[in-house]
């Protein structure tokens, strides 16, 4: 199973405003009671959506089918649950743009081949405003030159070189790569004192 390179994501965007949106809000813990990830897409932001009475962006008709989520600061903080990006993905999200991301959330997204790109505050707010005014706009998010391109303009985005490379070359599904270093793994295990009765190698 060779994962596909992720070079671009195209489609509509969906804005979700607010800082420090945690993974408990993305997928409340009661939906984690399962031994699989299936069905999570139906419950993404379940409590926020119920509280918003149909006005939550994920419920608004104009945002259905959107693929690019646009968020603000420290998105995905809190619990390490991969159920959060799984739920977003199963709802239809394929990439996230934000001012900043919690680290575990971003690495969980990467493990699913779902890019998280950062933009300056002004850039993110600009995109959010545009999508609110014109929800049907078609965007193209590119990874090699990290940016979001709209019909008549584009915005610079950022992604660390590690995740960028892994997405572009298909290495985001890294198990095969990790396992290909069998000799190095063995050498590392042999030099760790706590795996070798605390006899220190010279």
């Amino acid at each position: 199973m060779t994962p596909a390179p992720v070079t671009m994501v195209e489609g509509k965007a969906i804005p979700l405003q607010g800082h420090d949106i945690d993974t408990d809000r993305i997928i409340p813990a009661r939906f984690l009671k399962s031994i699989s990830f299936t069905g999570l897409g139906n419950h993404v932001f379940a409590d926020d959506r119920a509280a918003a009475g149909g006005c939550h962006p994920f419920d608004r008709p104009e945002h259905q089918g959107a693929r690019i989520l646009v968020v603000n600061r420290n998105f995905g903080c809190g619990s390490s649950r991969e159920h959060a990006p799984q739920a977003l993905r199963r709802w239809g999200i394929a990439a996230v743009i934000g001012e900043s991301f919690a680290e575990i959330f971003a690495s969980n997204c990467l493990a699913l081949g779902m890019p998280c790109l950062r933009g300056e505050t002004g850039v993110v707010e600009d995109i959010q405003q545009l999508v609110q005014e014109q929800p049907g706009v078609h965007f193209c998010l590119t990874l090699a030159a990290p940016r979001l391109r709209g019909p008549d303009r584009h915005w610079p985005l950022m992604i660390e070189s590690g995740p960028q490379t892994m997405l572009l070359n298909g290495g985001w599904d890294g198990t095969g790569l990790l396992l290909s270093h069998g000799d190095e793994l063995q050498r590392t295990a042999l030099r760790l004192p706590y795996l070798n009765d605390f006899v220190l190698s010279s």
Partner: protein
């Protein structure tokens, strides 16, 4: 696109990165663009800031170097994981992925399992009453049996919250890399380990390869100097640090907790502090190993004995950050300024001293005001009102943050000789079976029971309410747990005030948020013997 254009900028490149198109070619007299053209647009991450971590000679650097397996394309490091902890919520899908790919577990002896998140704290008879919970526990049992993994289940006598049992078994040791599909894995950093939470796909990777692809973090030393005042606990230090630095300041960082205050802390207090590092955004937090740490570990079931113990201690000592270590950032905090601390909002950073008033918008930086407005509404608290005196509906003592023996002793000291307020639901959930036995042996269960608290069986319980323990409707809880997020404790509109276990006990017996210092001094006046710690 501006292909073919060339632009000359004689000043610092950072000034123009935000306005130029990404270029095809950069000609410069410096390392501009090496980390990606846009890398200089700071977004709170050291990666975003276009600077690589600079630290040298810290424990983090030493442990990182020792566990480095290979450098990966794109600059990430393949890091060996010395101890892998799993539980029933984030592992079943990882095992499914292993099976789908025909992969095995590379080091079954280095993965240890327990059940904690979904366990009921009243009736733990099998099958569990909740069929979904039973299915998760059964899946864990089957997976552990199939792959030959150690599982500390109900009948082991050692079951409990994963971040409580691994330390008490001596599994968590200095110099290890420790990963678990749970963000509070930072707890184990108290032992001088690099310990961090991972997602389920990464659980798969650790099972298959005993390693992970990671970016090296920067290291921020947080030096906390001086002594804590009476009634002020490690939890207050943690909340104070998060309040001071913010919930995202730690993104991209490992937090080294240092200073005389931390040196004077017992291991269980250090665990509380490191546990909350993730609430500051730091994926891992740690304390340099010292004699306090070695004394805690000595003779625990999974630590070496005899000559190997001596060799271990020698090695562990060598791991502590060097005196001339270089840090990416340093912060100093005066322990004397820390008061019993309570959260008032919907993130752990929205915290205040118990004798303060809820901050008004004009007391907050402009960037924090929208979240504050959201918090006032959700919590039904008014800016400027004192937090002390706020009526509480439910009191919860437990969790991986504060479910250890010393936490229960601190709470029992307040509860002893008092009774929970009328209409109050108050319950104590020990962090593990071992904690429960130790507490029962010194009569703490009876102290709590006489005071009107329910004494439960071990598990994560109402920290995240994946079991039957949960808030109802708009109930307000005083909780010794770690997250006051909207809906965290099982009701979509439930509200949480985070505080120390002693403060939770004070709220329980008073019915309202109460400064525990007032009760501790009267306990002393009444001649109540303080619990030994």
């Amino acid at each position: 696109m501006s292909r073919g254009l060339s632009t000359l900028h004689p000043g610092p490149a950072q000034e123009v990165y935000g306005t130029w198109d990404p270029p095809d070619l950069i000609v410069s007299d410096g390392a501009y663009g090496v980390g990606g053209f846009d890398a200089s647009l700071g977004c709170g991450s050291p990666f975003a800031a276009g600077r690589s971590p600079l630290s040298t000679g810290t424990l983090y650097d030493k442990v990182w170097a020792l566990h480095r397996v290979a450098e990966l394309p794109g600059g990430q490091t393949q890091l060996f994981i010395g101890l892998h902890l799993i539980h029933e919520v984030t592992s079943p899908q990882a095992f499914t992925m292993l099976r789908e790919r025909g992969l095995g577990v590379r080091h079954p002896e280095r993965t240890v399992a327990t059940v904690d998140h979904i366990v009921p704290t009243t009736d733990q008879g099998r099958p569990l009453a909740d069929p979904l919970a039973e299915a998760m526990l059964s899946a864990l049992e089957k997976n552990c049996a199939h792959y030959g993994l150690r599982l500390y289940g109900f009948d082991s006598g050692q079951q409990g919250i994963v971040h409580v049992i691994a330390p008490e078994l001596g599994l968590s040791q200095p110099g290890m890399t420790i990963a678990c599909g749970d963000s509070h894995t930072s707890t184990h950093g108290a032992f001088g380990a690099i310990a961090f939470g991972i997602g389920t796909t990464q659980v798969r990777d650790v099972l298959a390869s005993q390693s992970l692809a990671l970016d090296k973090l920067s290291v921020r030393r947080i030096s906390i100097h001086g002594a804590l005042a009476p009634g002020v606990f490690a939890k207050d230090v943690a909340l104070h640090v998060i309040r001071r630095l913010g919930v995202k300041s730690g993104v991209g960082y490992a937090y080294e907790f240092a200073g005389s205050c931390v040196a004077a802390m017992a291991m269980e207090e250090r665990m509380t502090l490191c546990n909350m590092a993730i609430e500051a955004g730091a994926r891992c937090g740690y304390v340099n190993p010292d004699q306090v740490c070695f004394d805690y570990l000595h003779n625990r079931p999974c630590v070496p004995r005899g000559a190997a113990w001596q060799r271990a201690v020698t090695w562990w000592r060598s791991l502590a950050s060097d005196g001339d270590a270089v840090y990416d950032d340093e912060v100093t905090i005066n322990a004397g300024e820390i008061a019993p601390t309570v959260t008032w909002g919907i993130t752990p950073g929205q915290a205040m001293a118990v004798d303060e008033a809820v901050p008004t918008p004009d007391q907050l930086p402009a960037g924090e005001r929208p979240l504050a407005q959201e918090a006032y509404r959700y919590m039904d608290l008014q800016p400027g009102q004192p937090i002390a005196g706020t009526p509480v509906d439910v009191c919860f003592i437990g969790s991986c943050t504060n479910g250890r023996l010393s936490d229960l002793r601190d709470a029992a000291l307040v509860a002893r000789g008092r009774h929970v307020a009328d209409g109050m639901k108050a319950f104590v959930v020990p962090g593990s079976q071992q904690v429960a036995r130790a507490a029962e042996a010194e009569g703490l269960d009876a102290v709590f029971a006489r005071a009107g608290f329910e004494w439960r069986r071990p598990g994560c319980s109402m920290c995240l309410a994946m079991n039957p323990d949960r808030l109802e409707g708009r109930q307000l809880s005083a909780s010794s747990s770690n997250r006051n997020f909207k809906g965290r404790q099982g009701s979509a509109s439930g509200r949480t005030l985070l505080m120390s276990p002693a403060m939770v006990a004070a709220a329980a017996v008073s019915g309202v948020v109460t400064d525990v210092r007032t009760l501790l001094s009267s306990a002393k006046d009444a001649g109540t013997a303080p619990a030994e710690s």
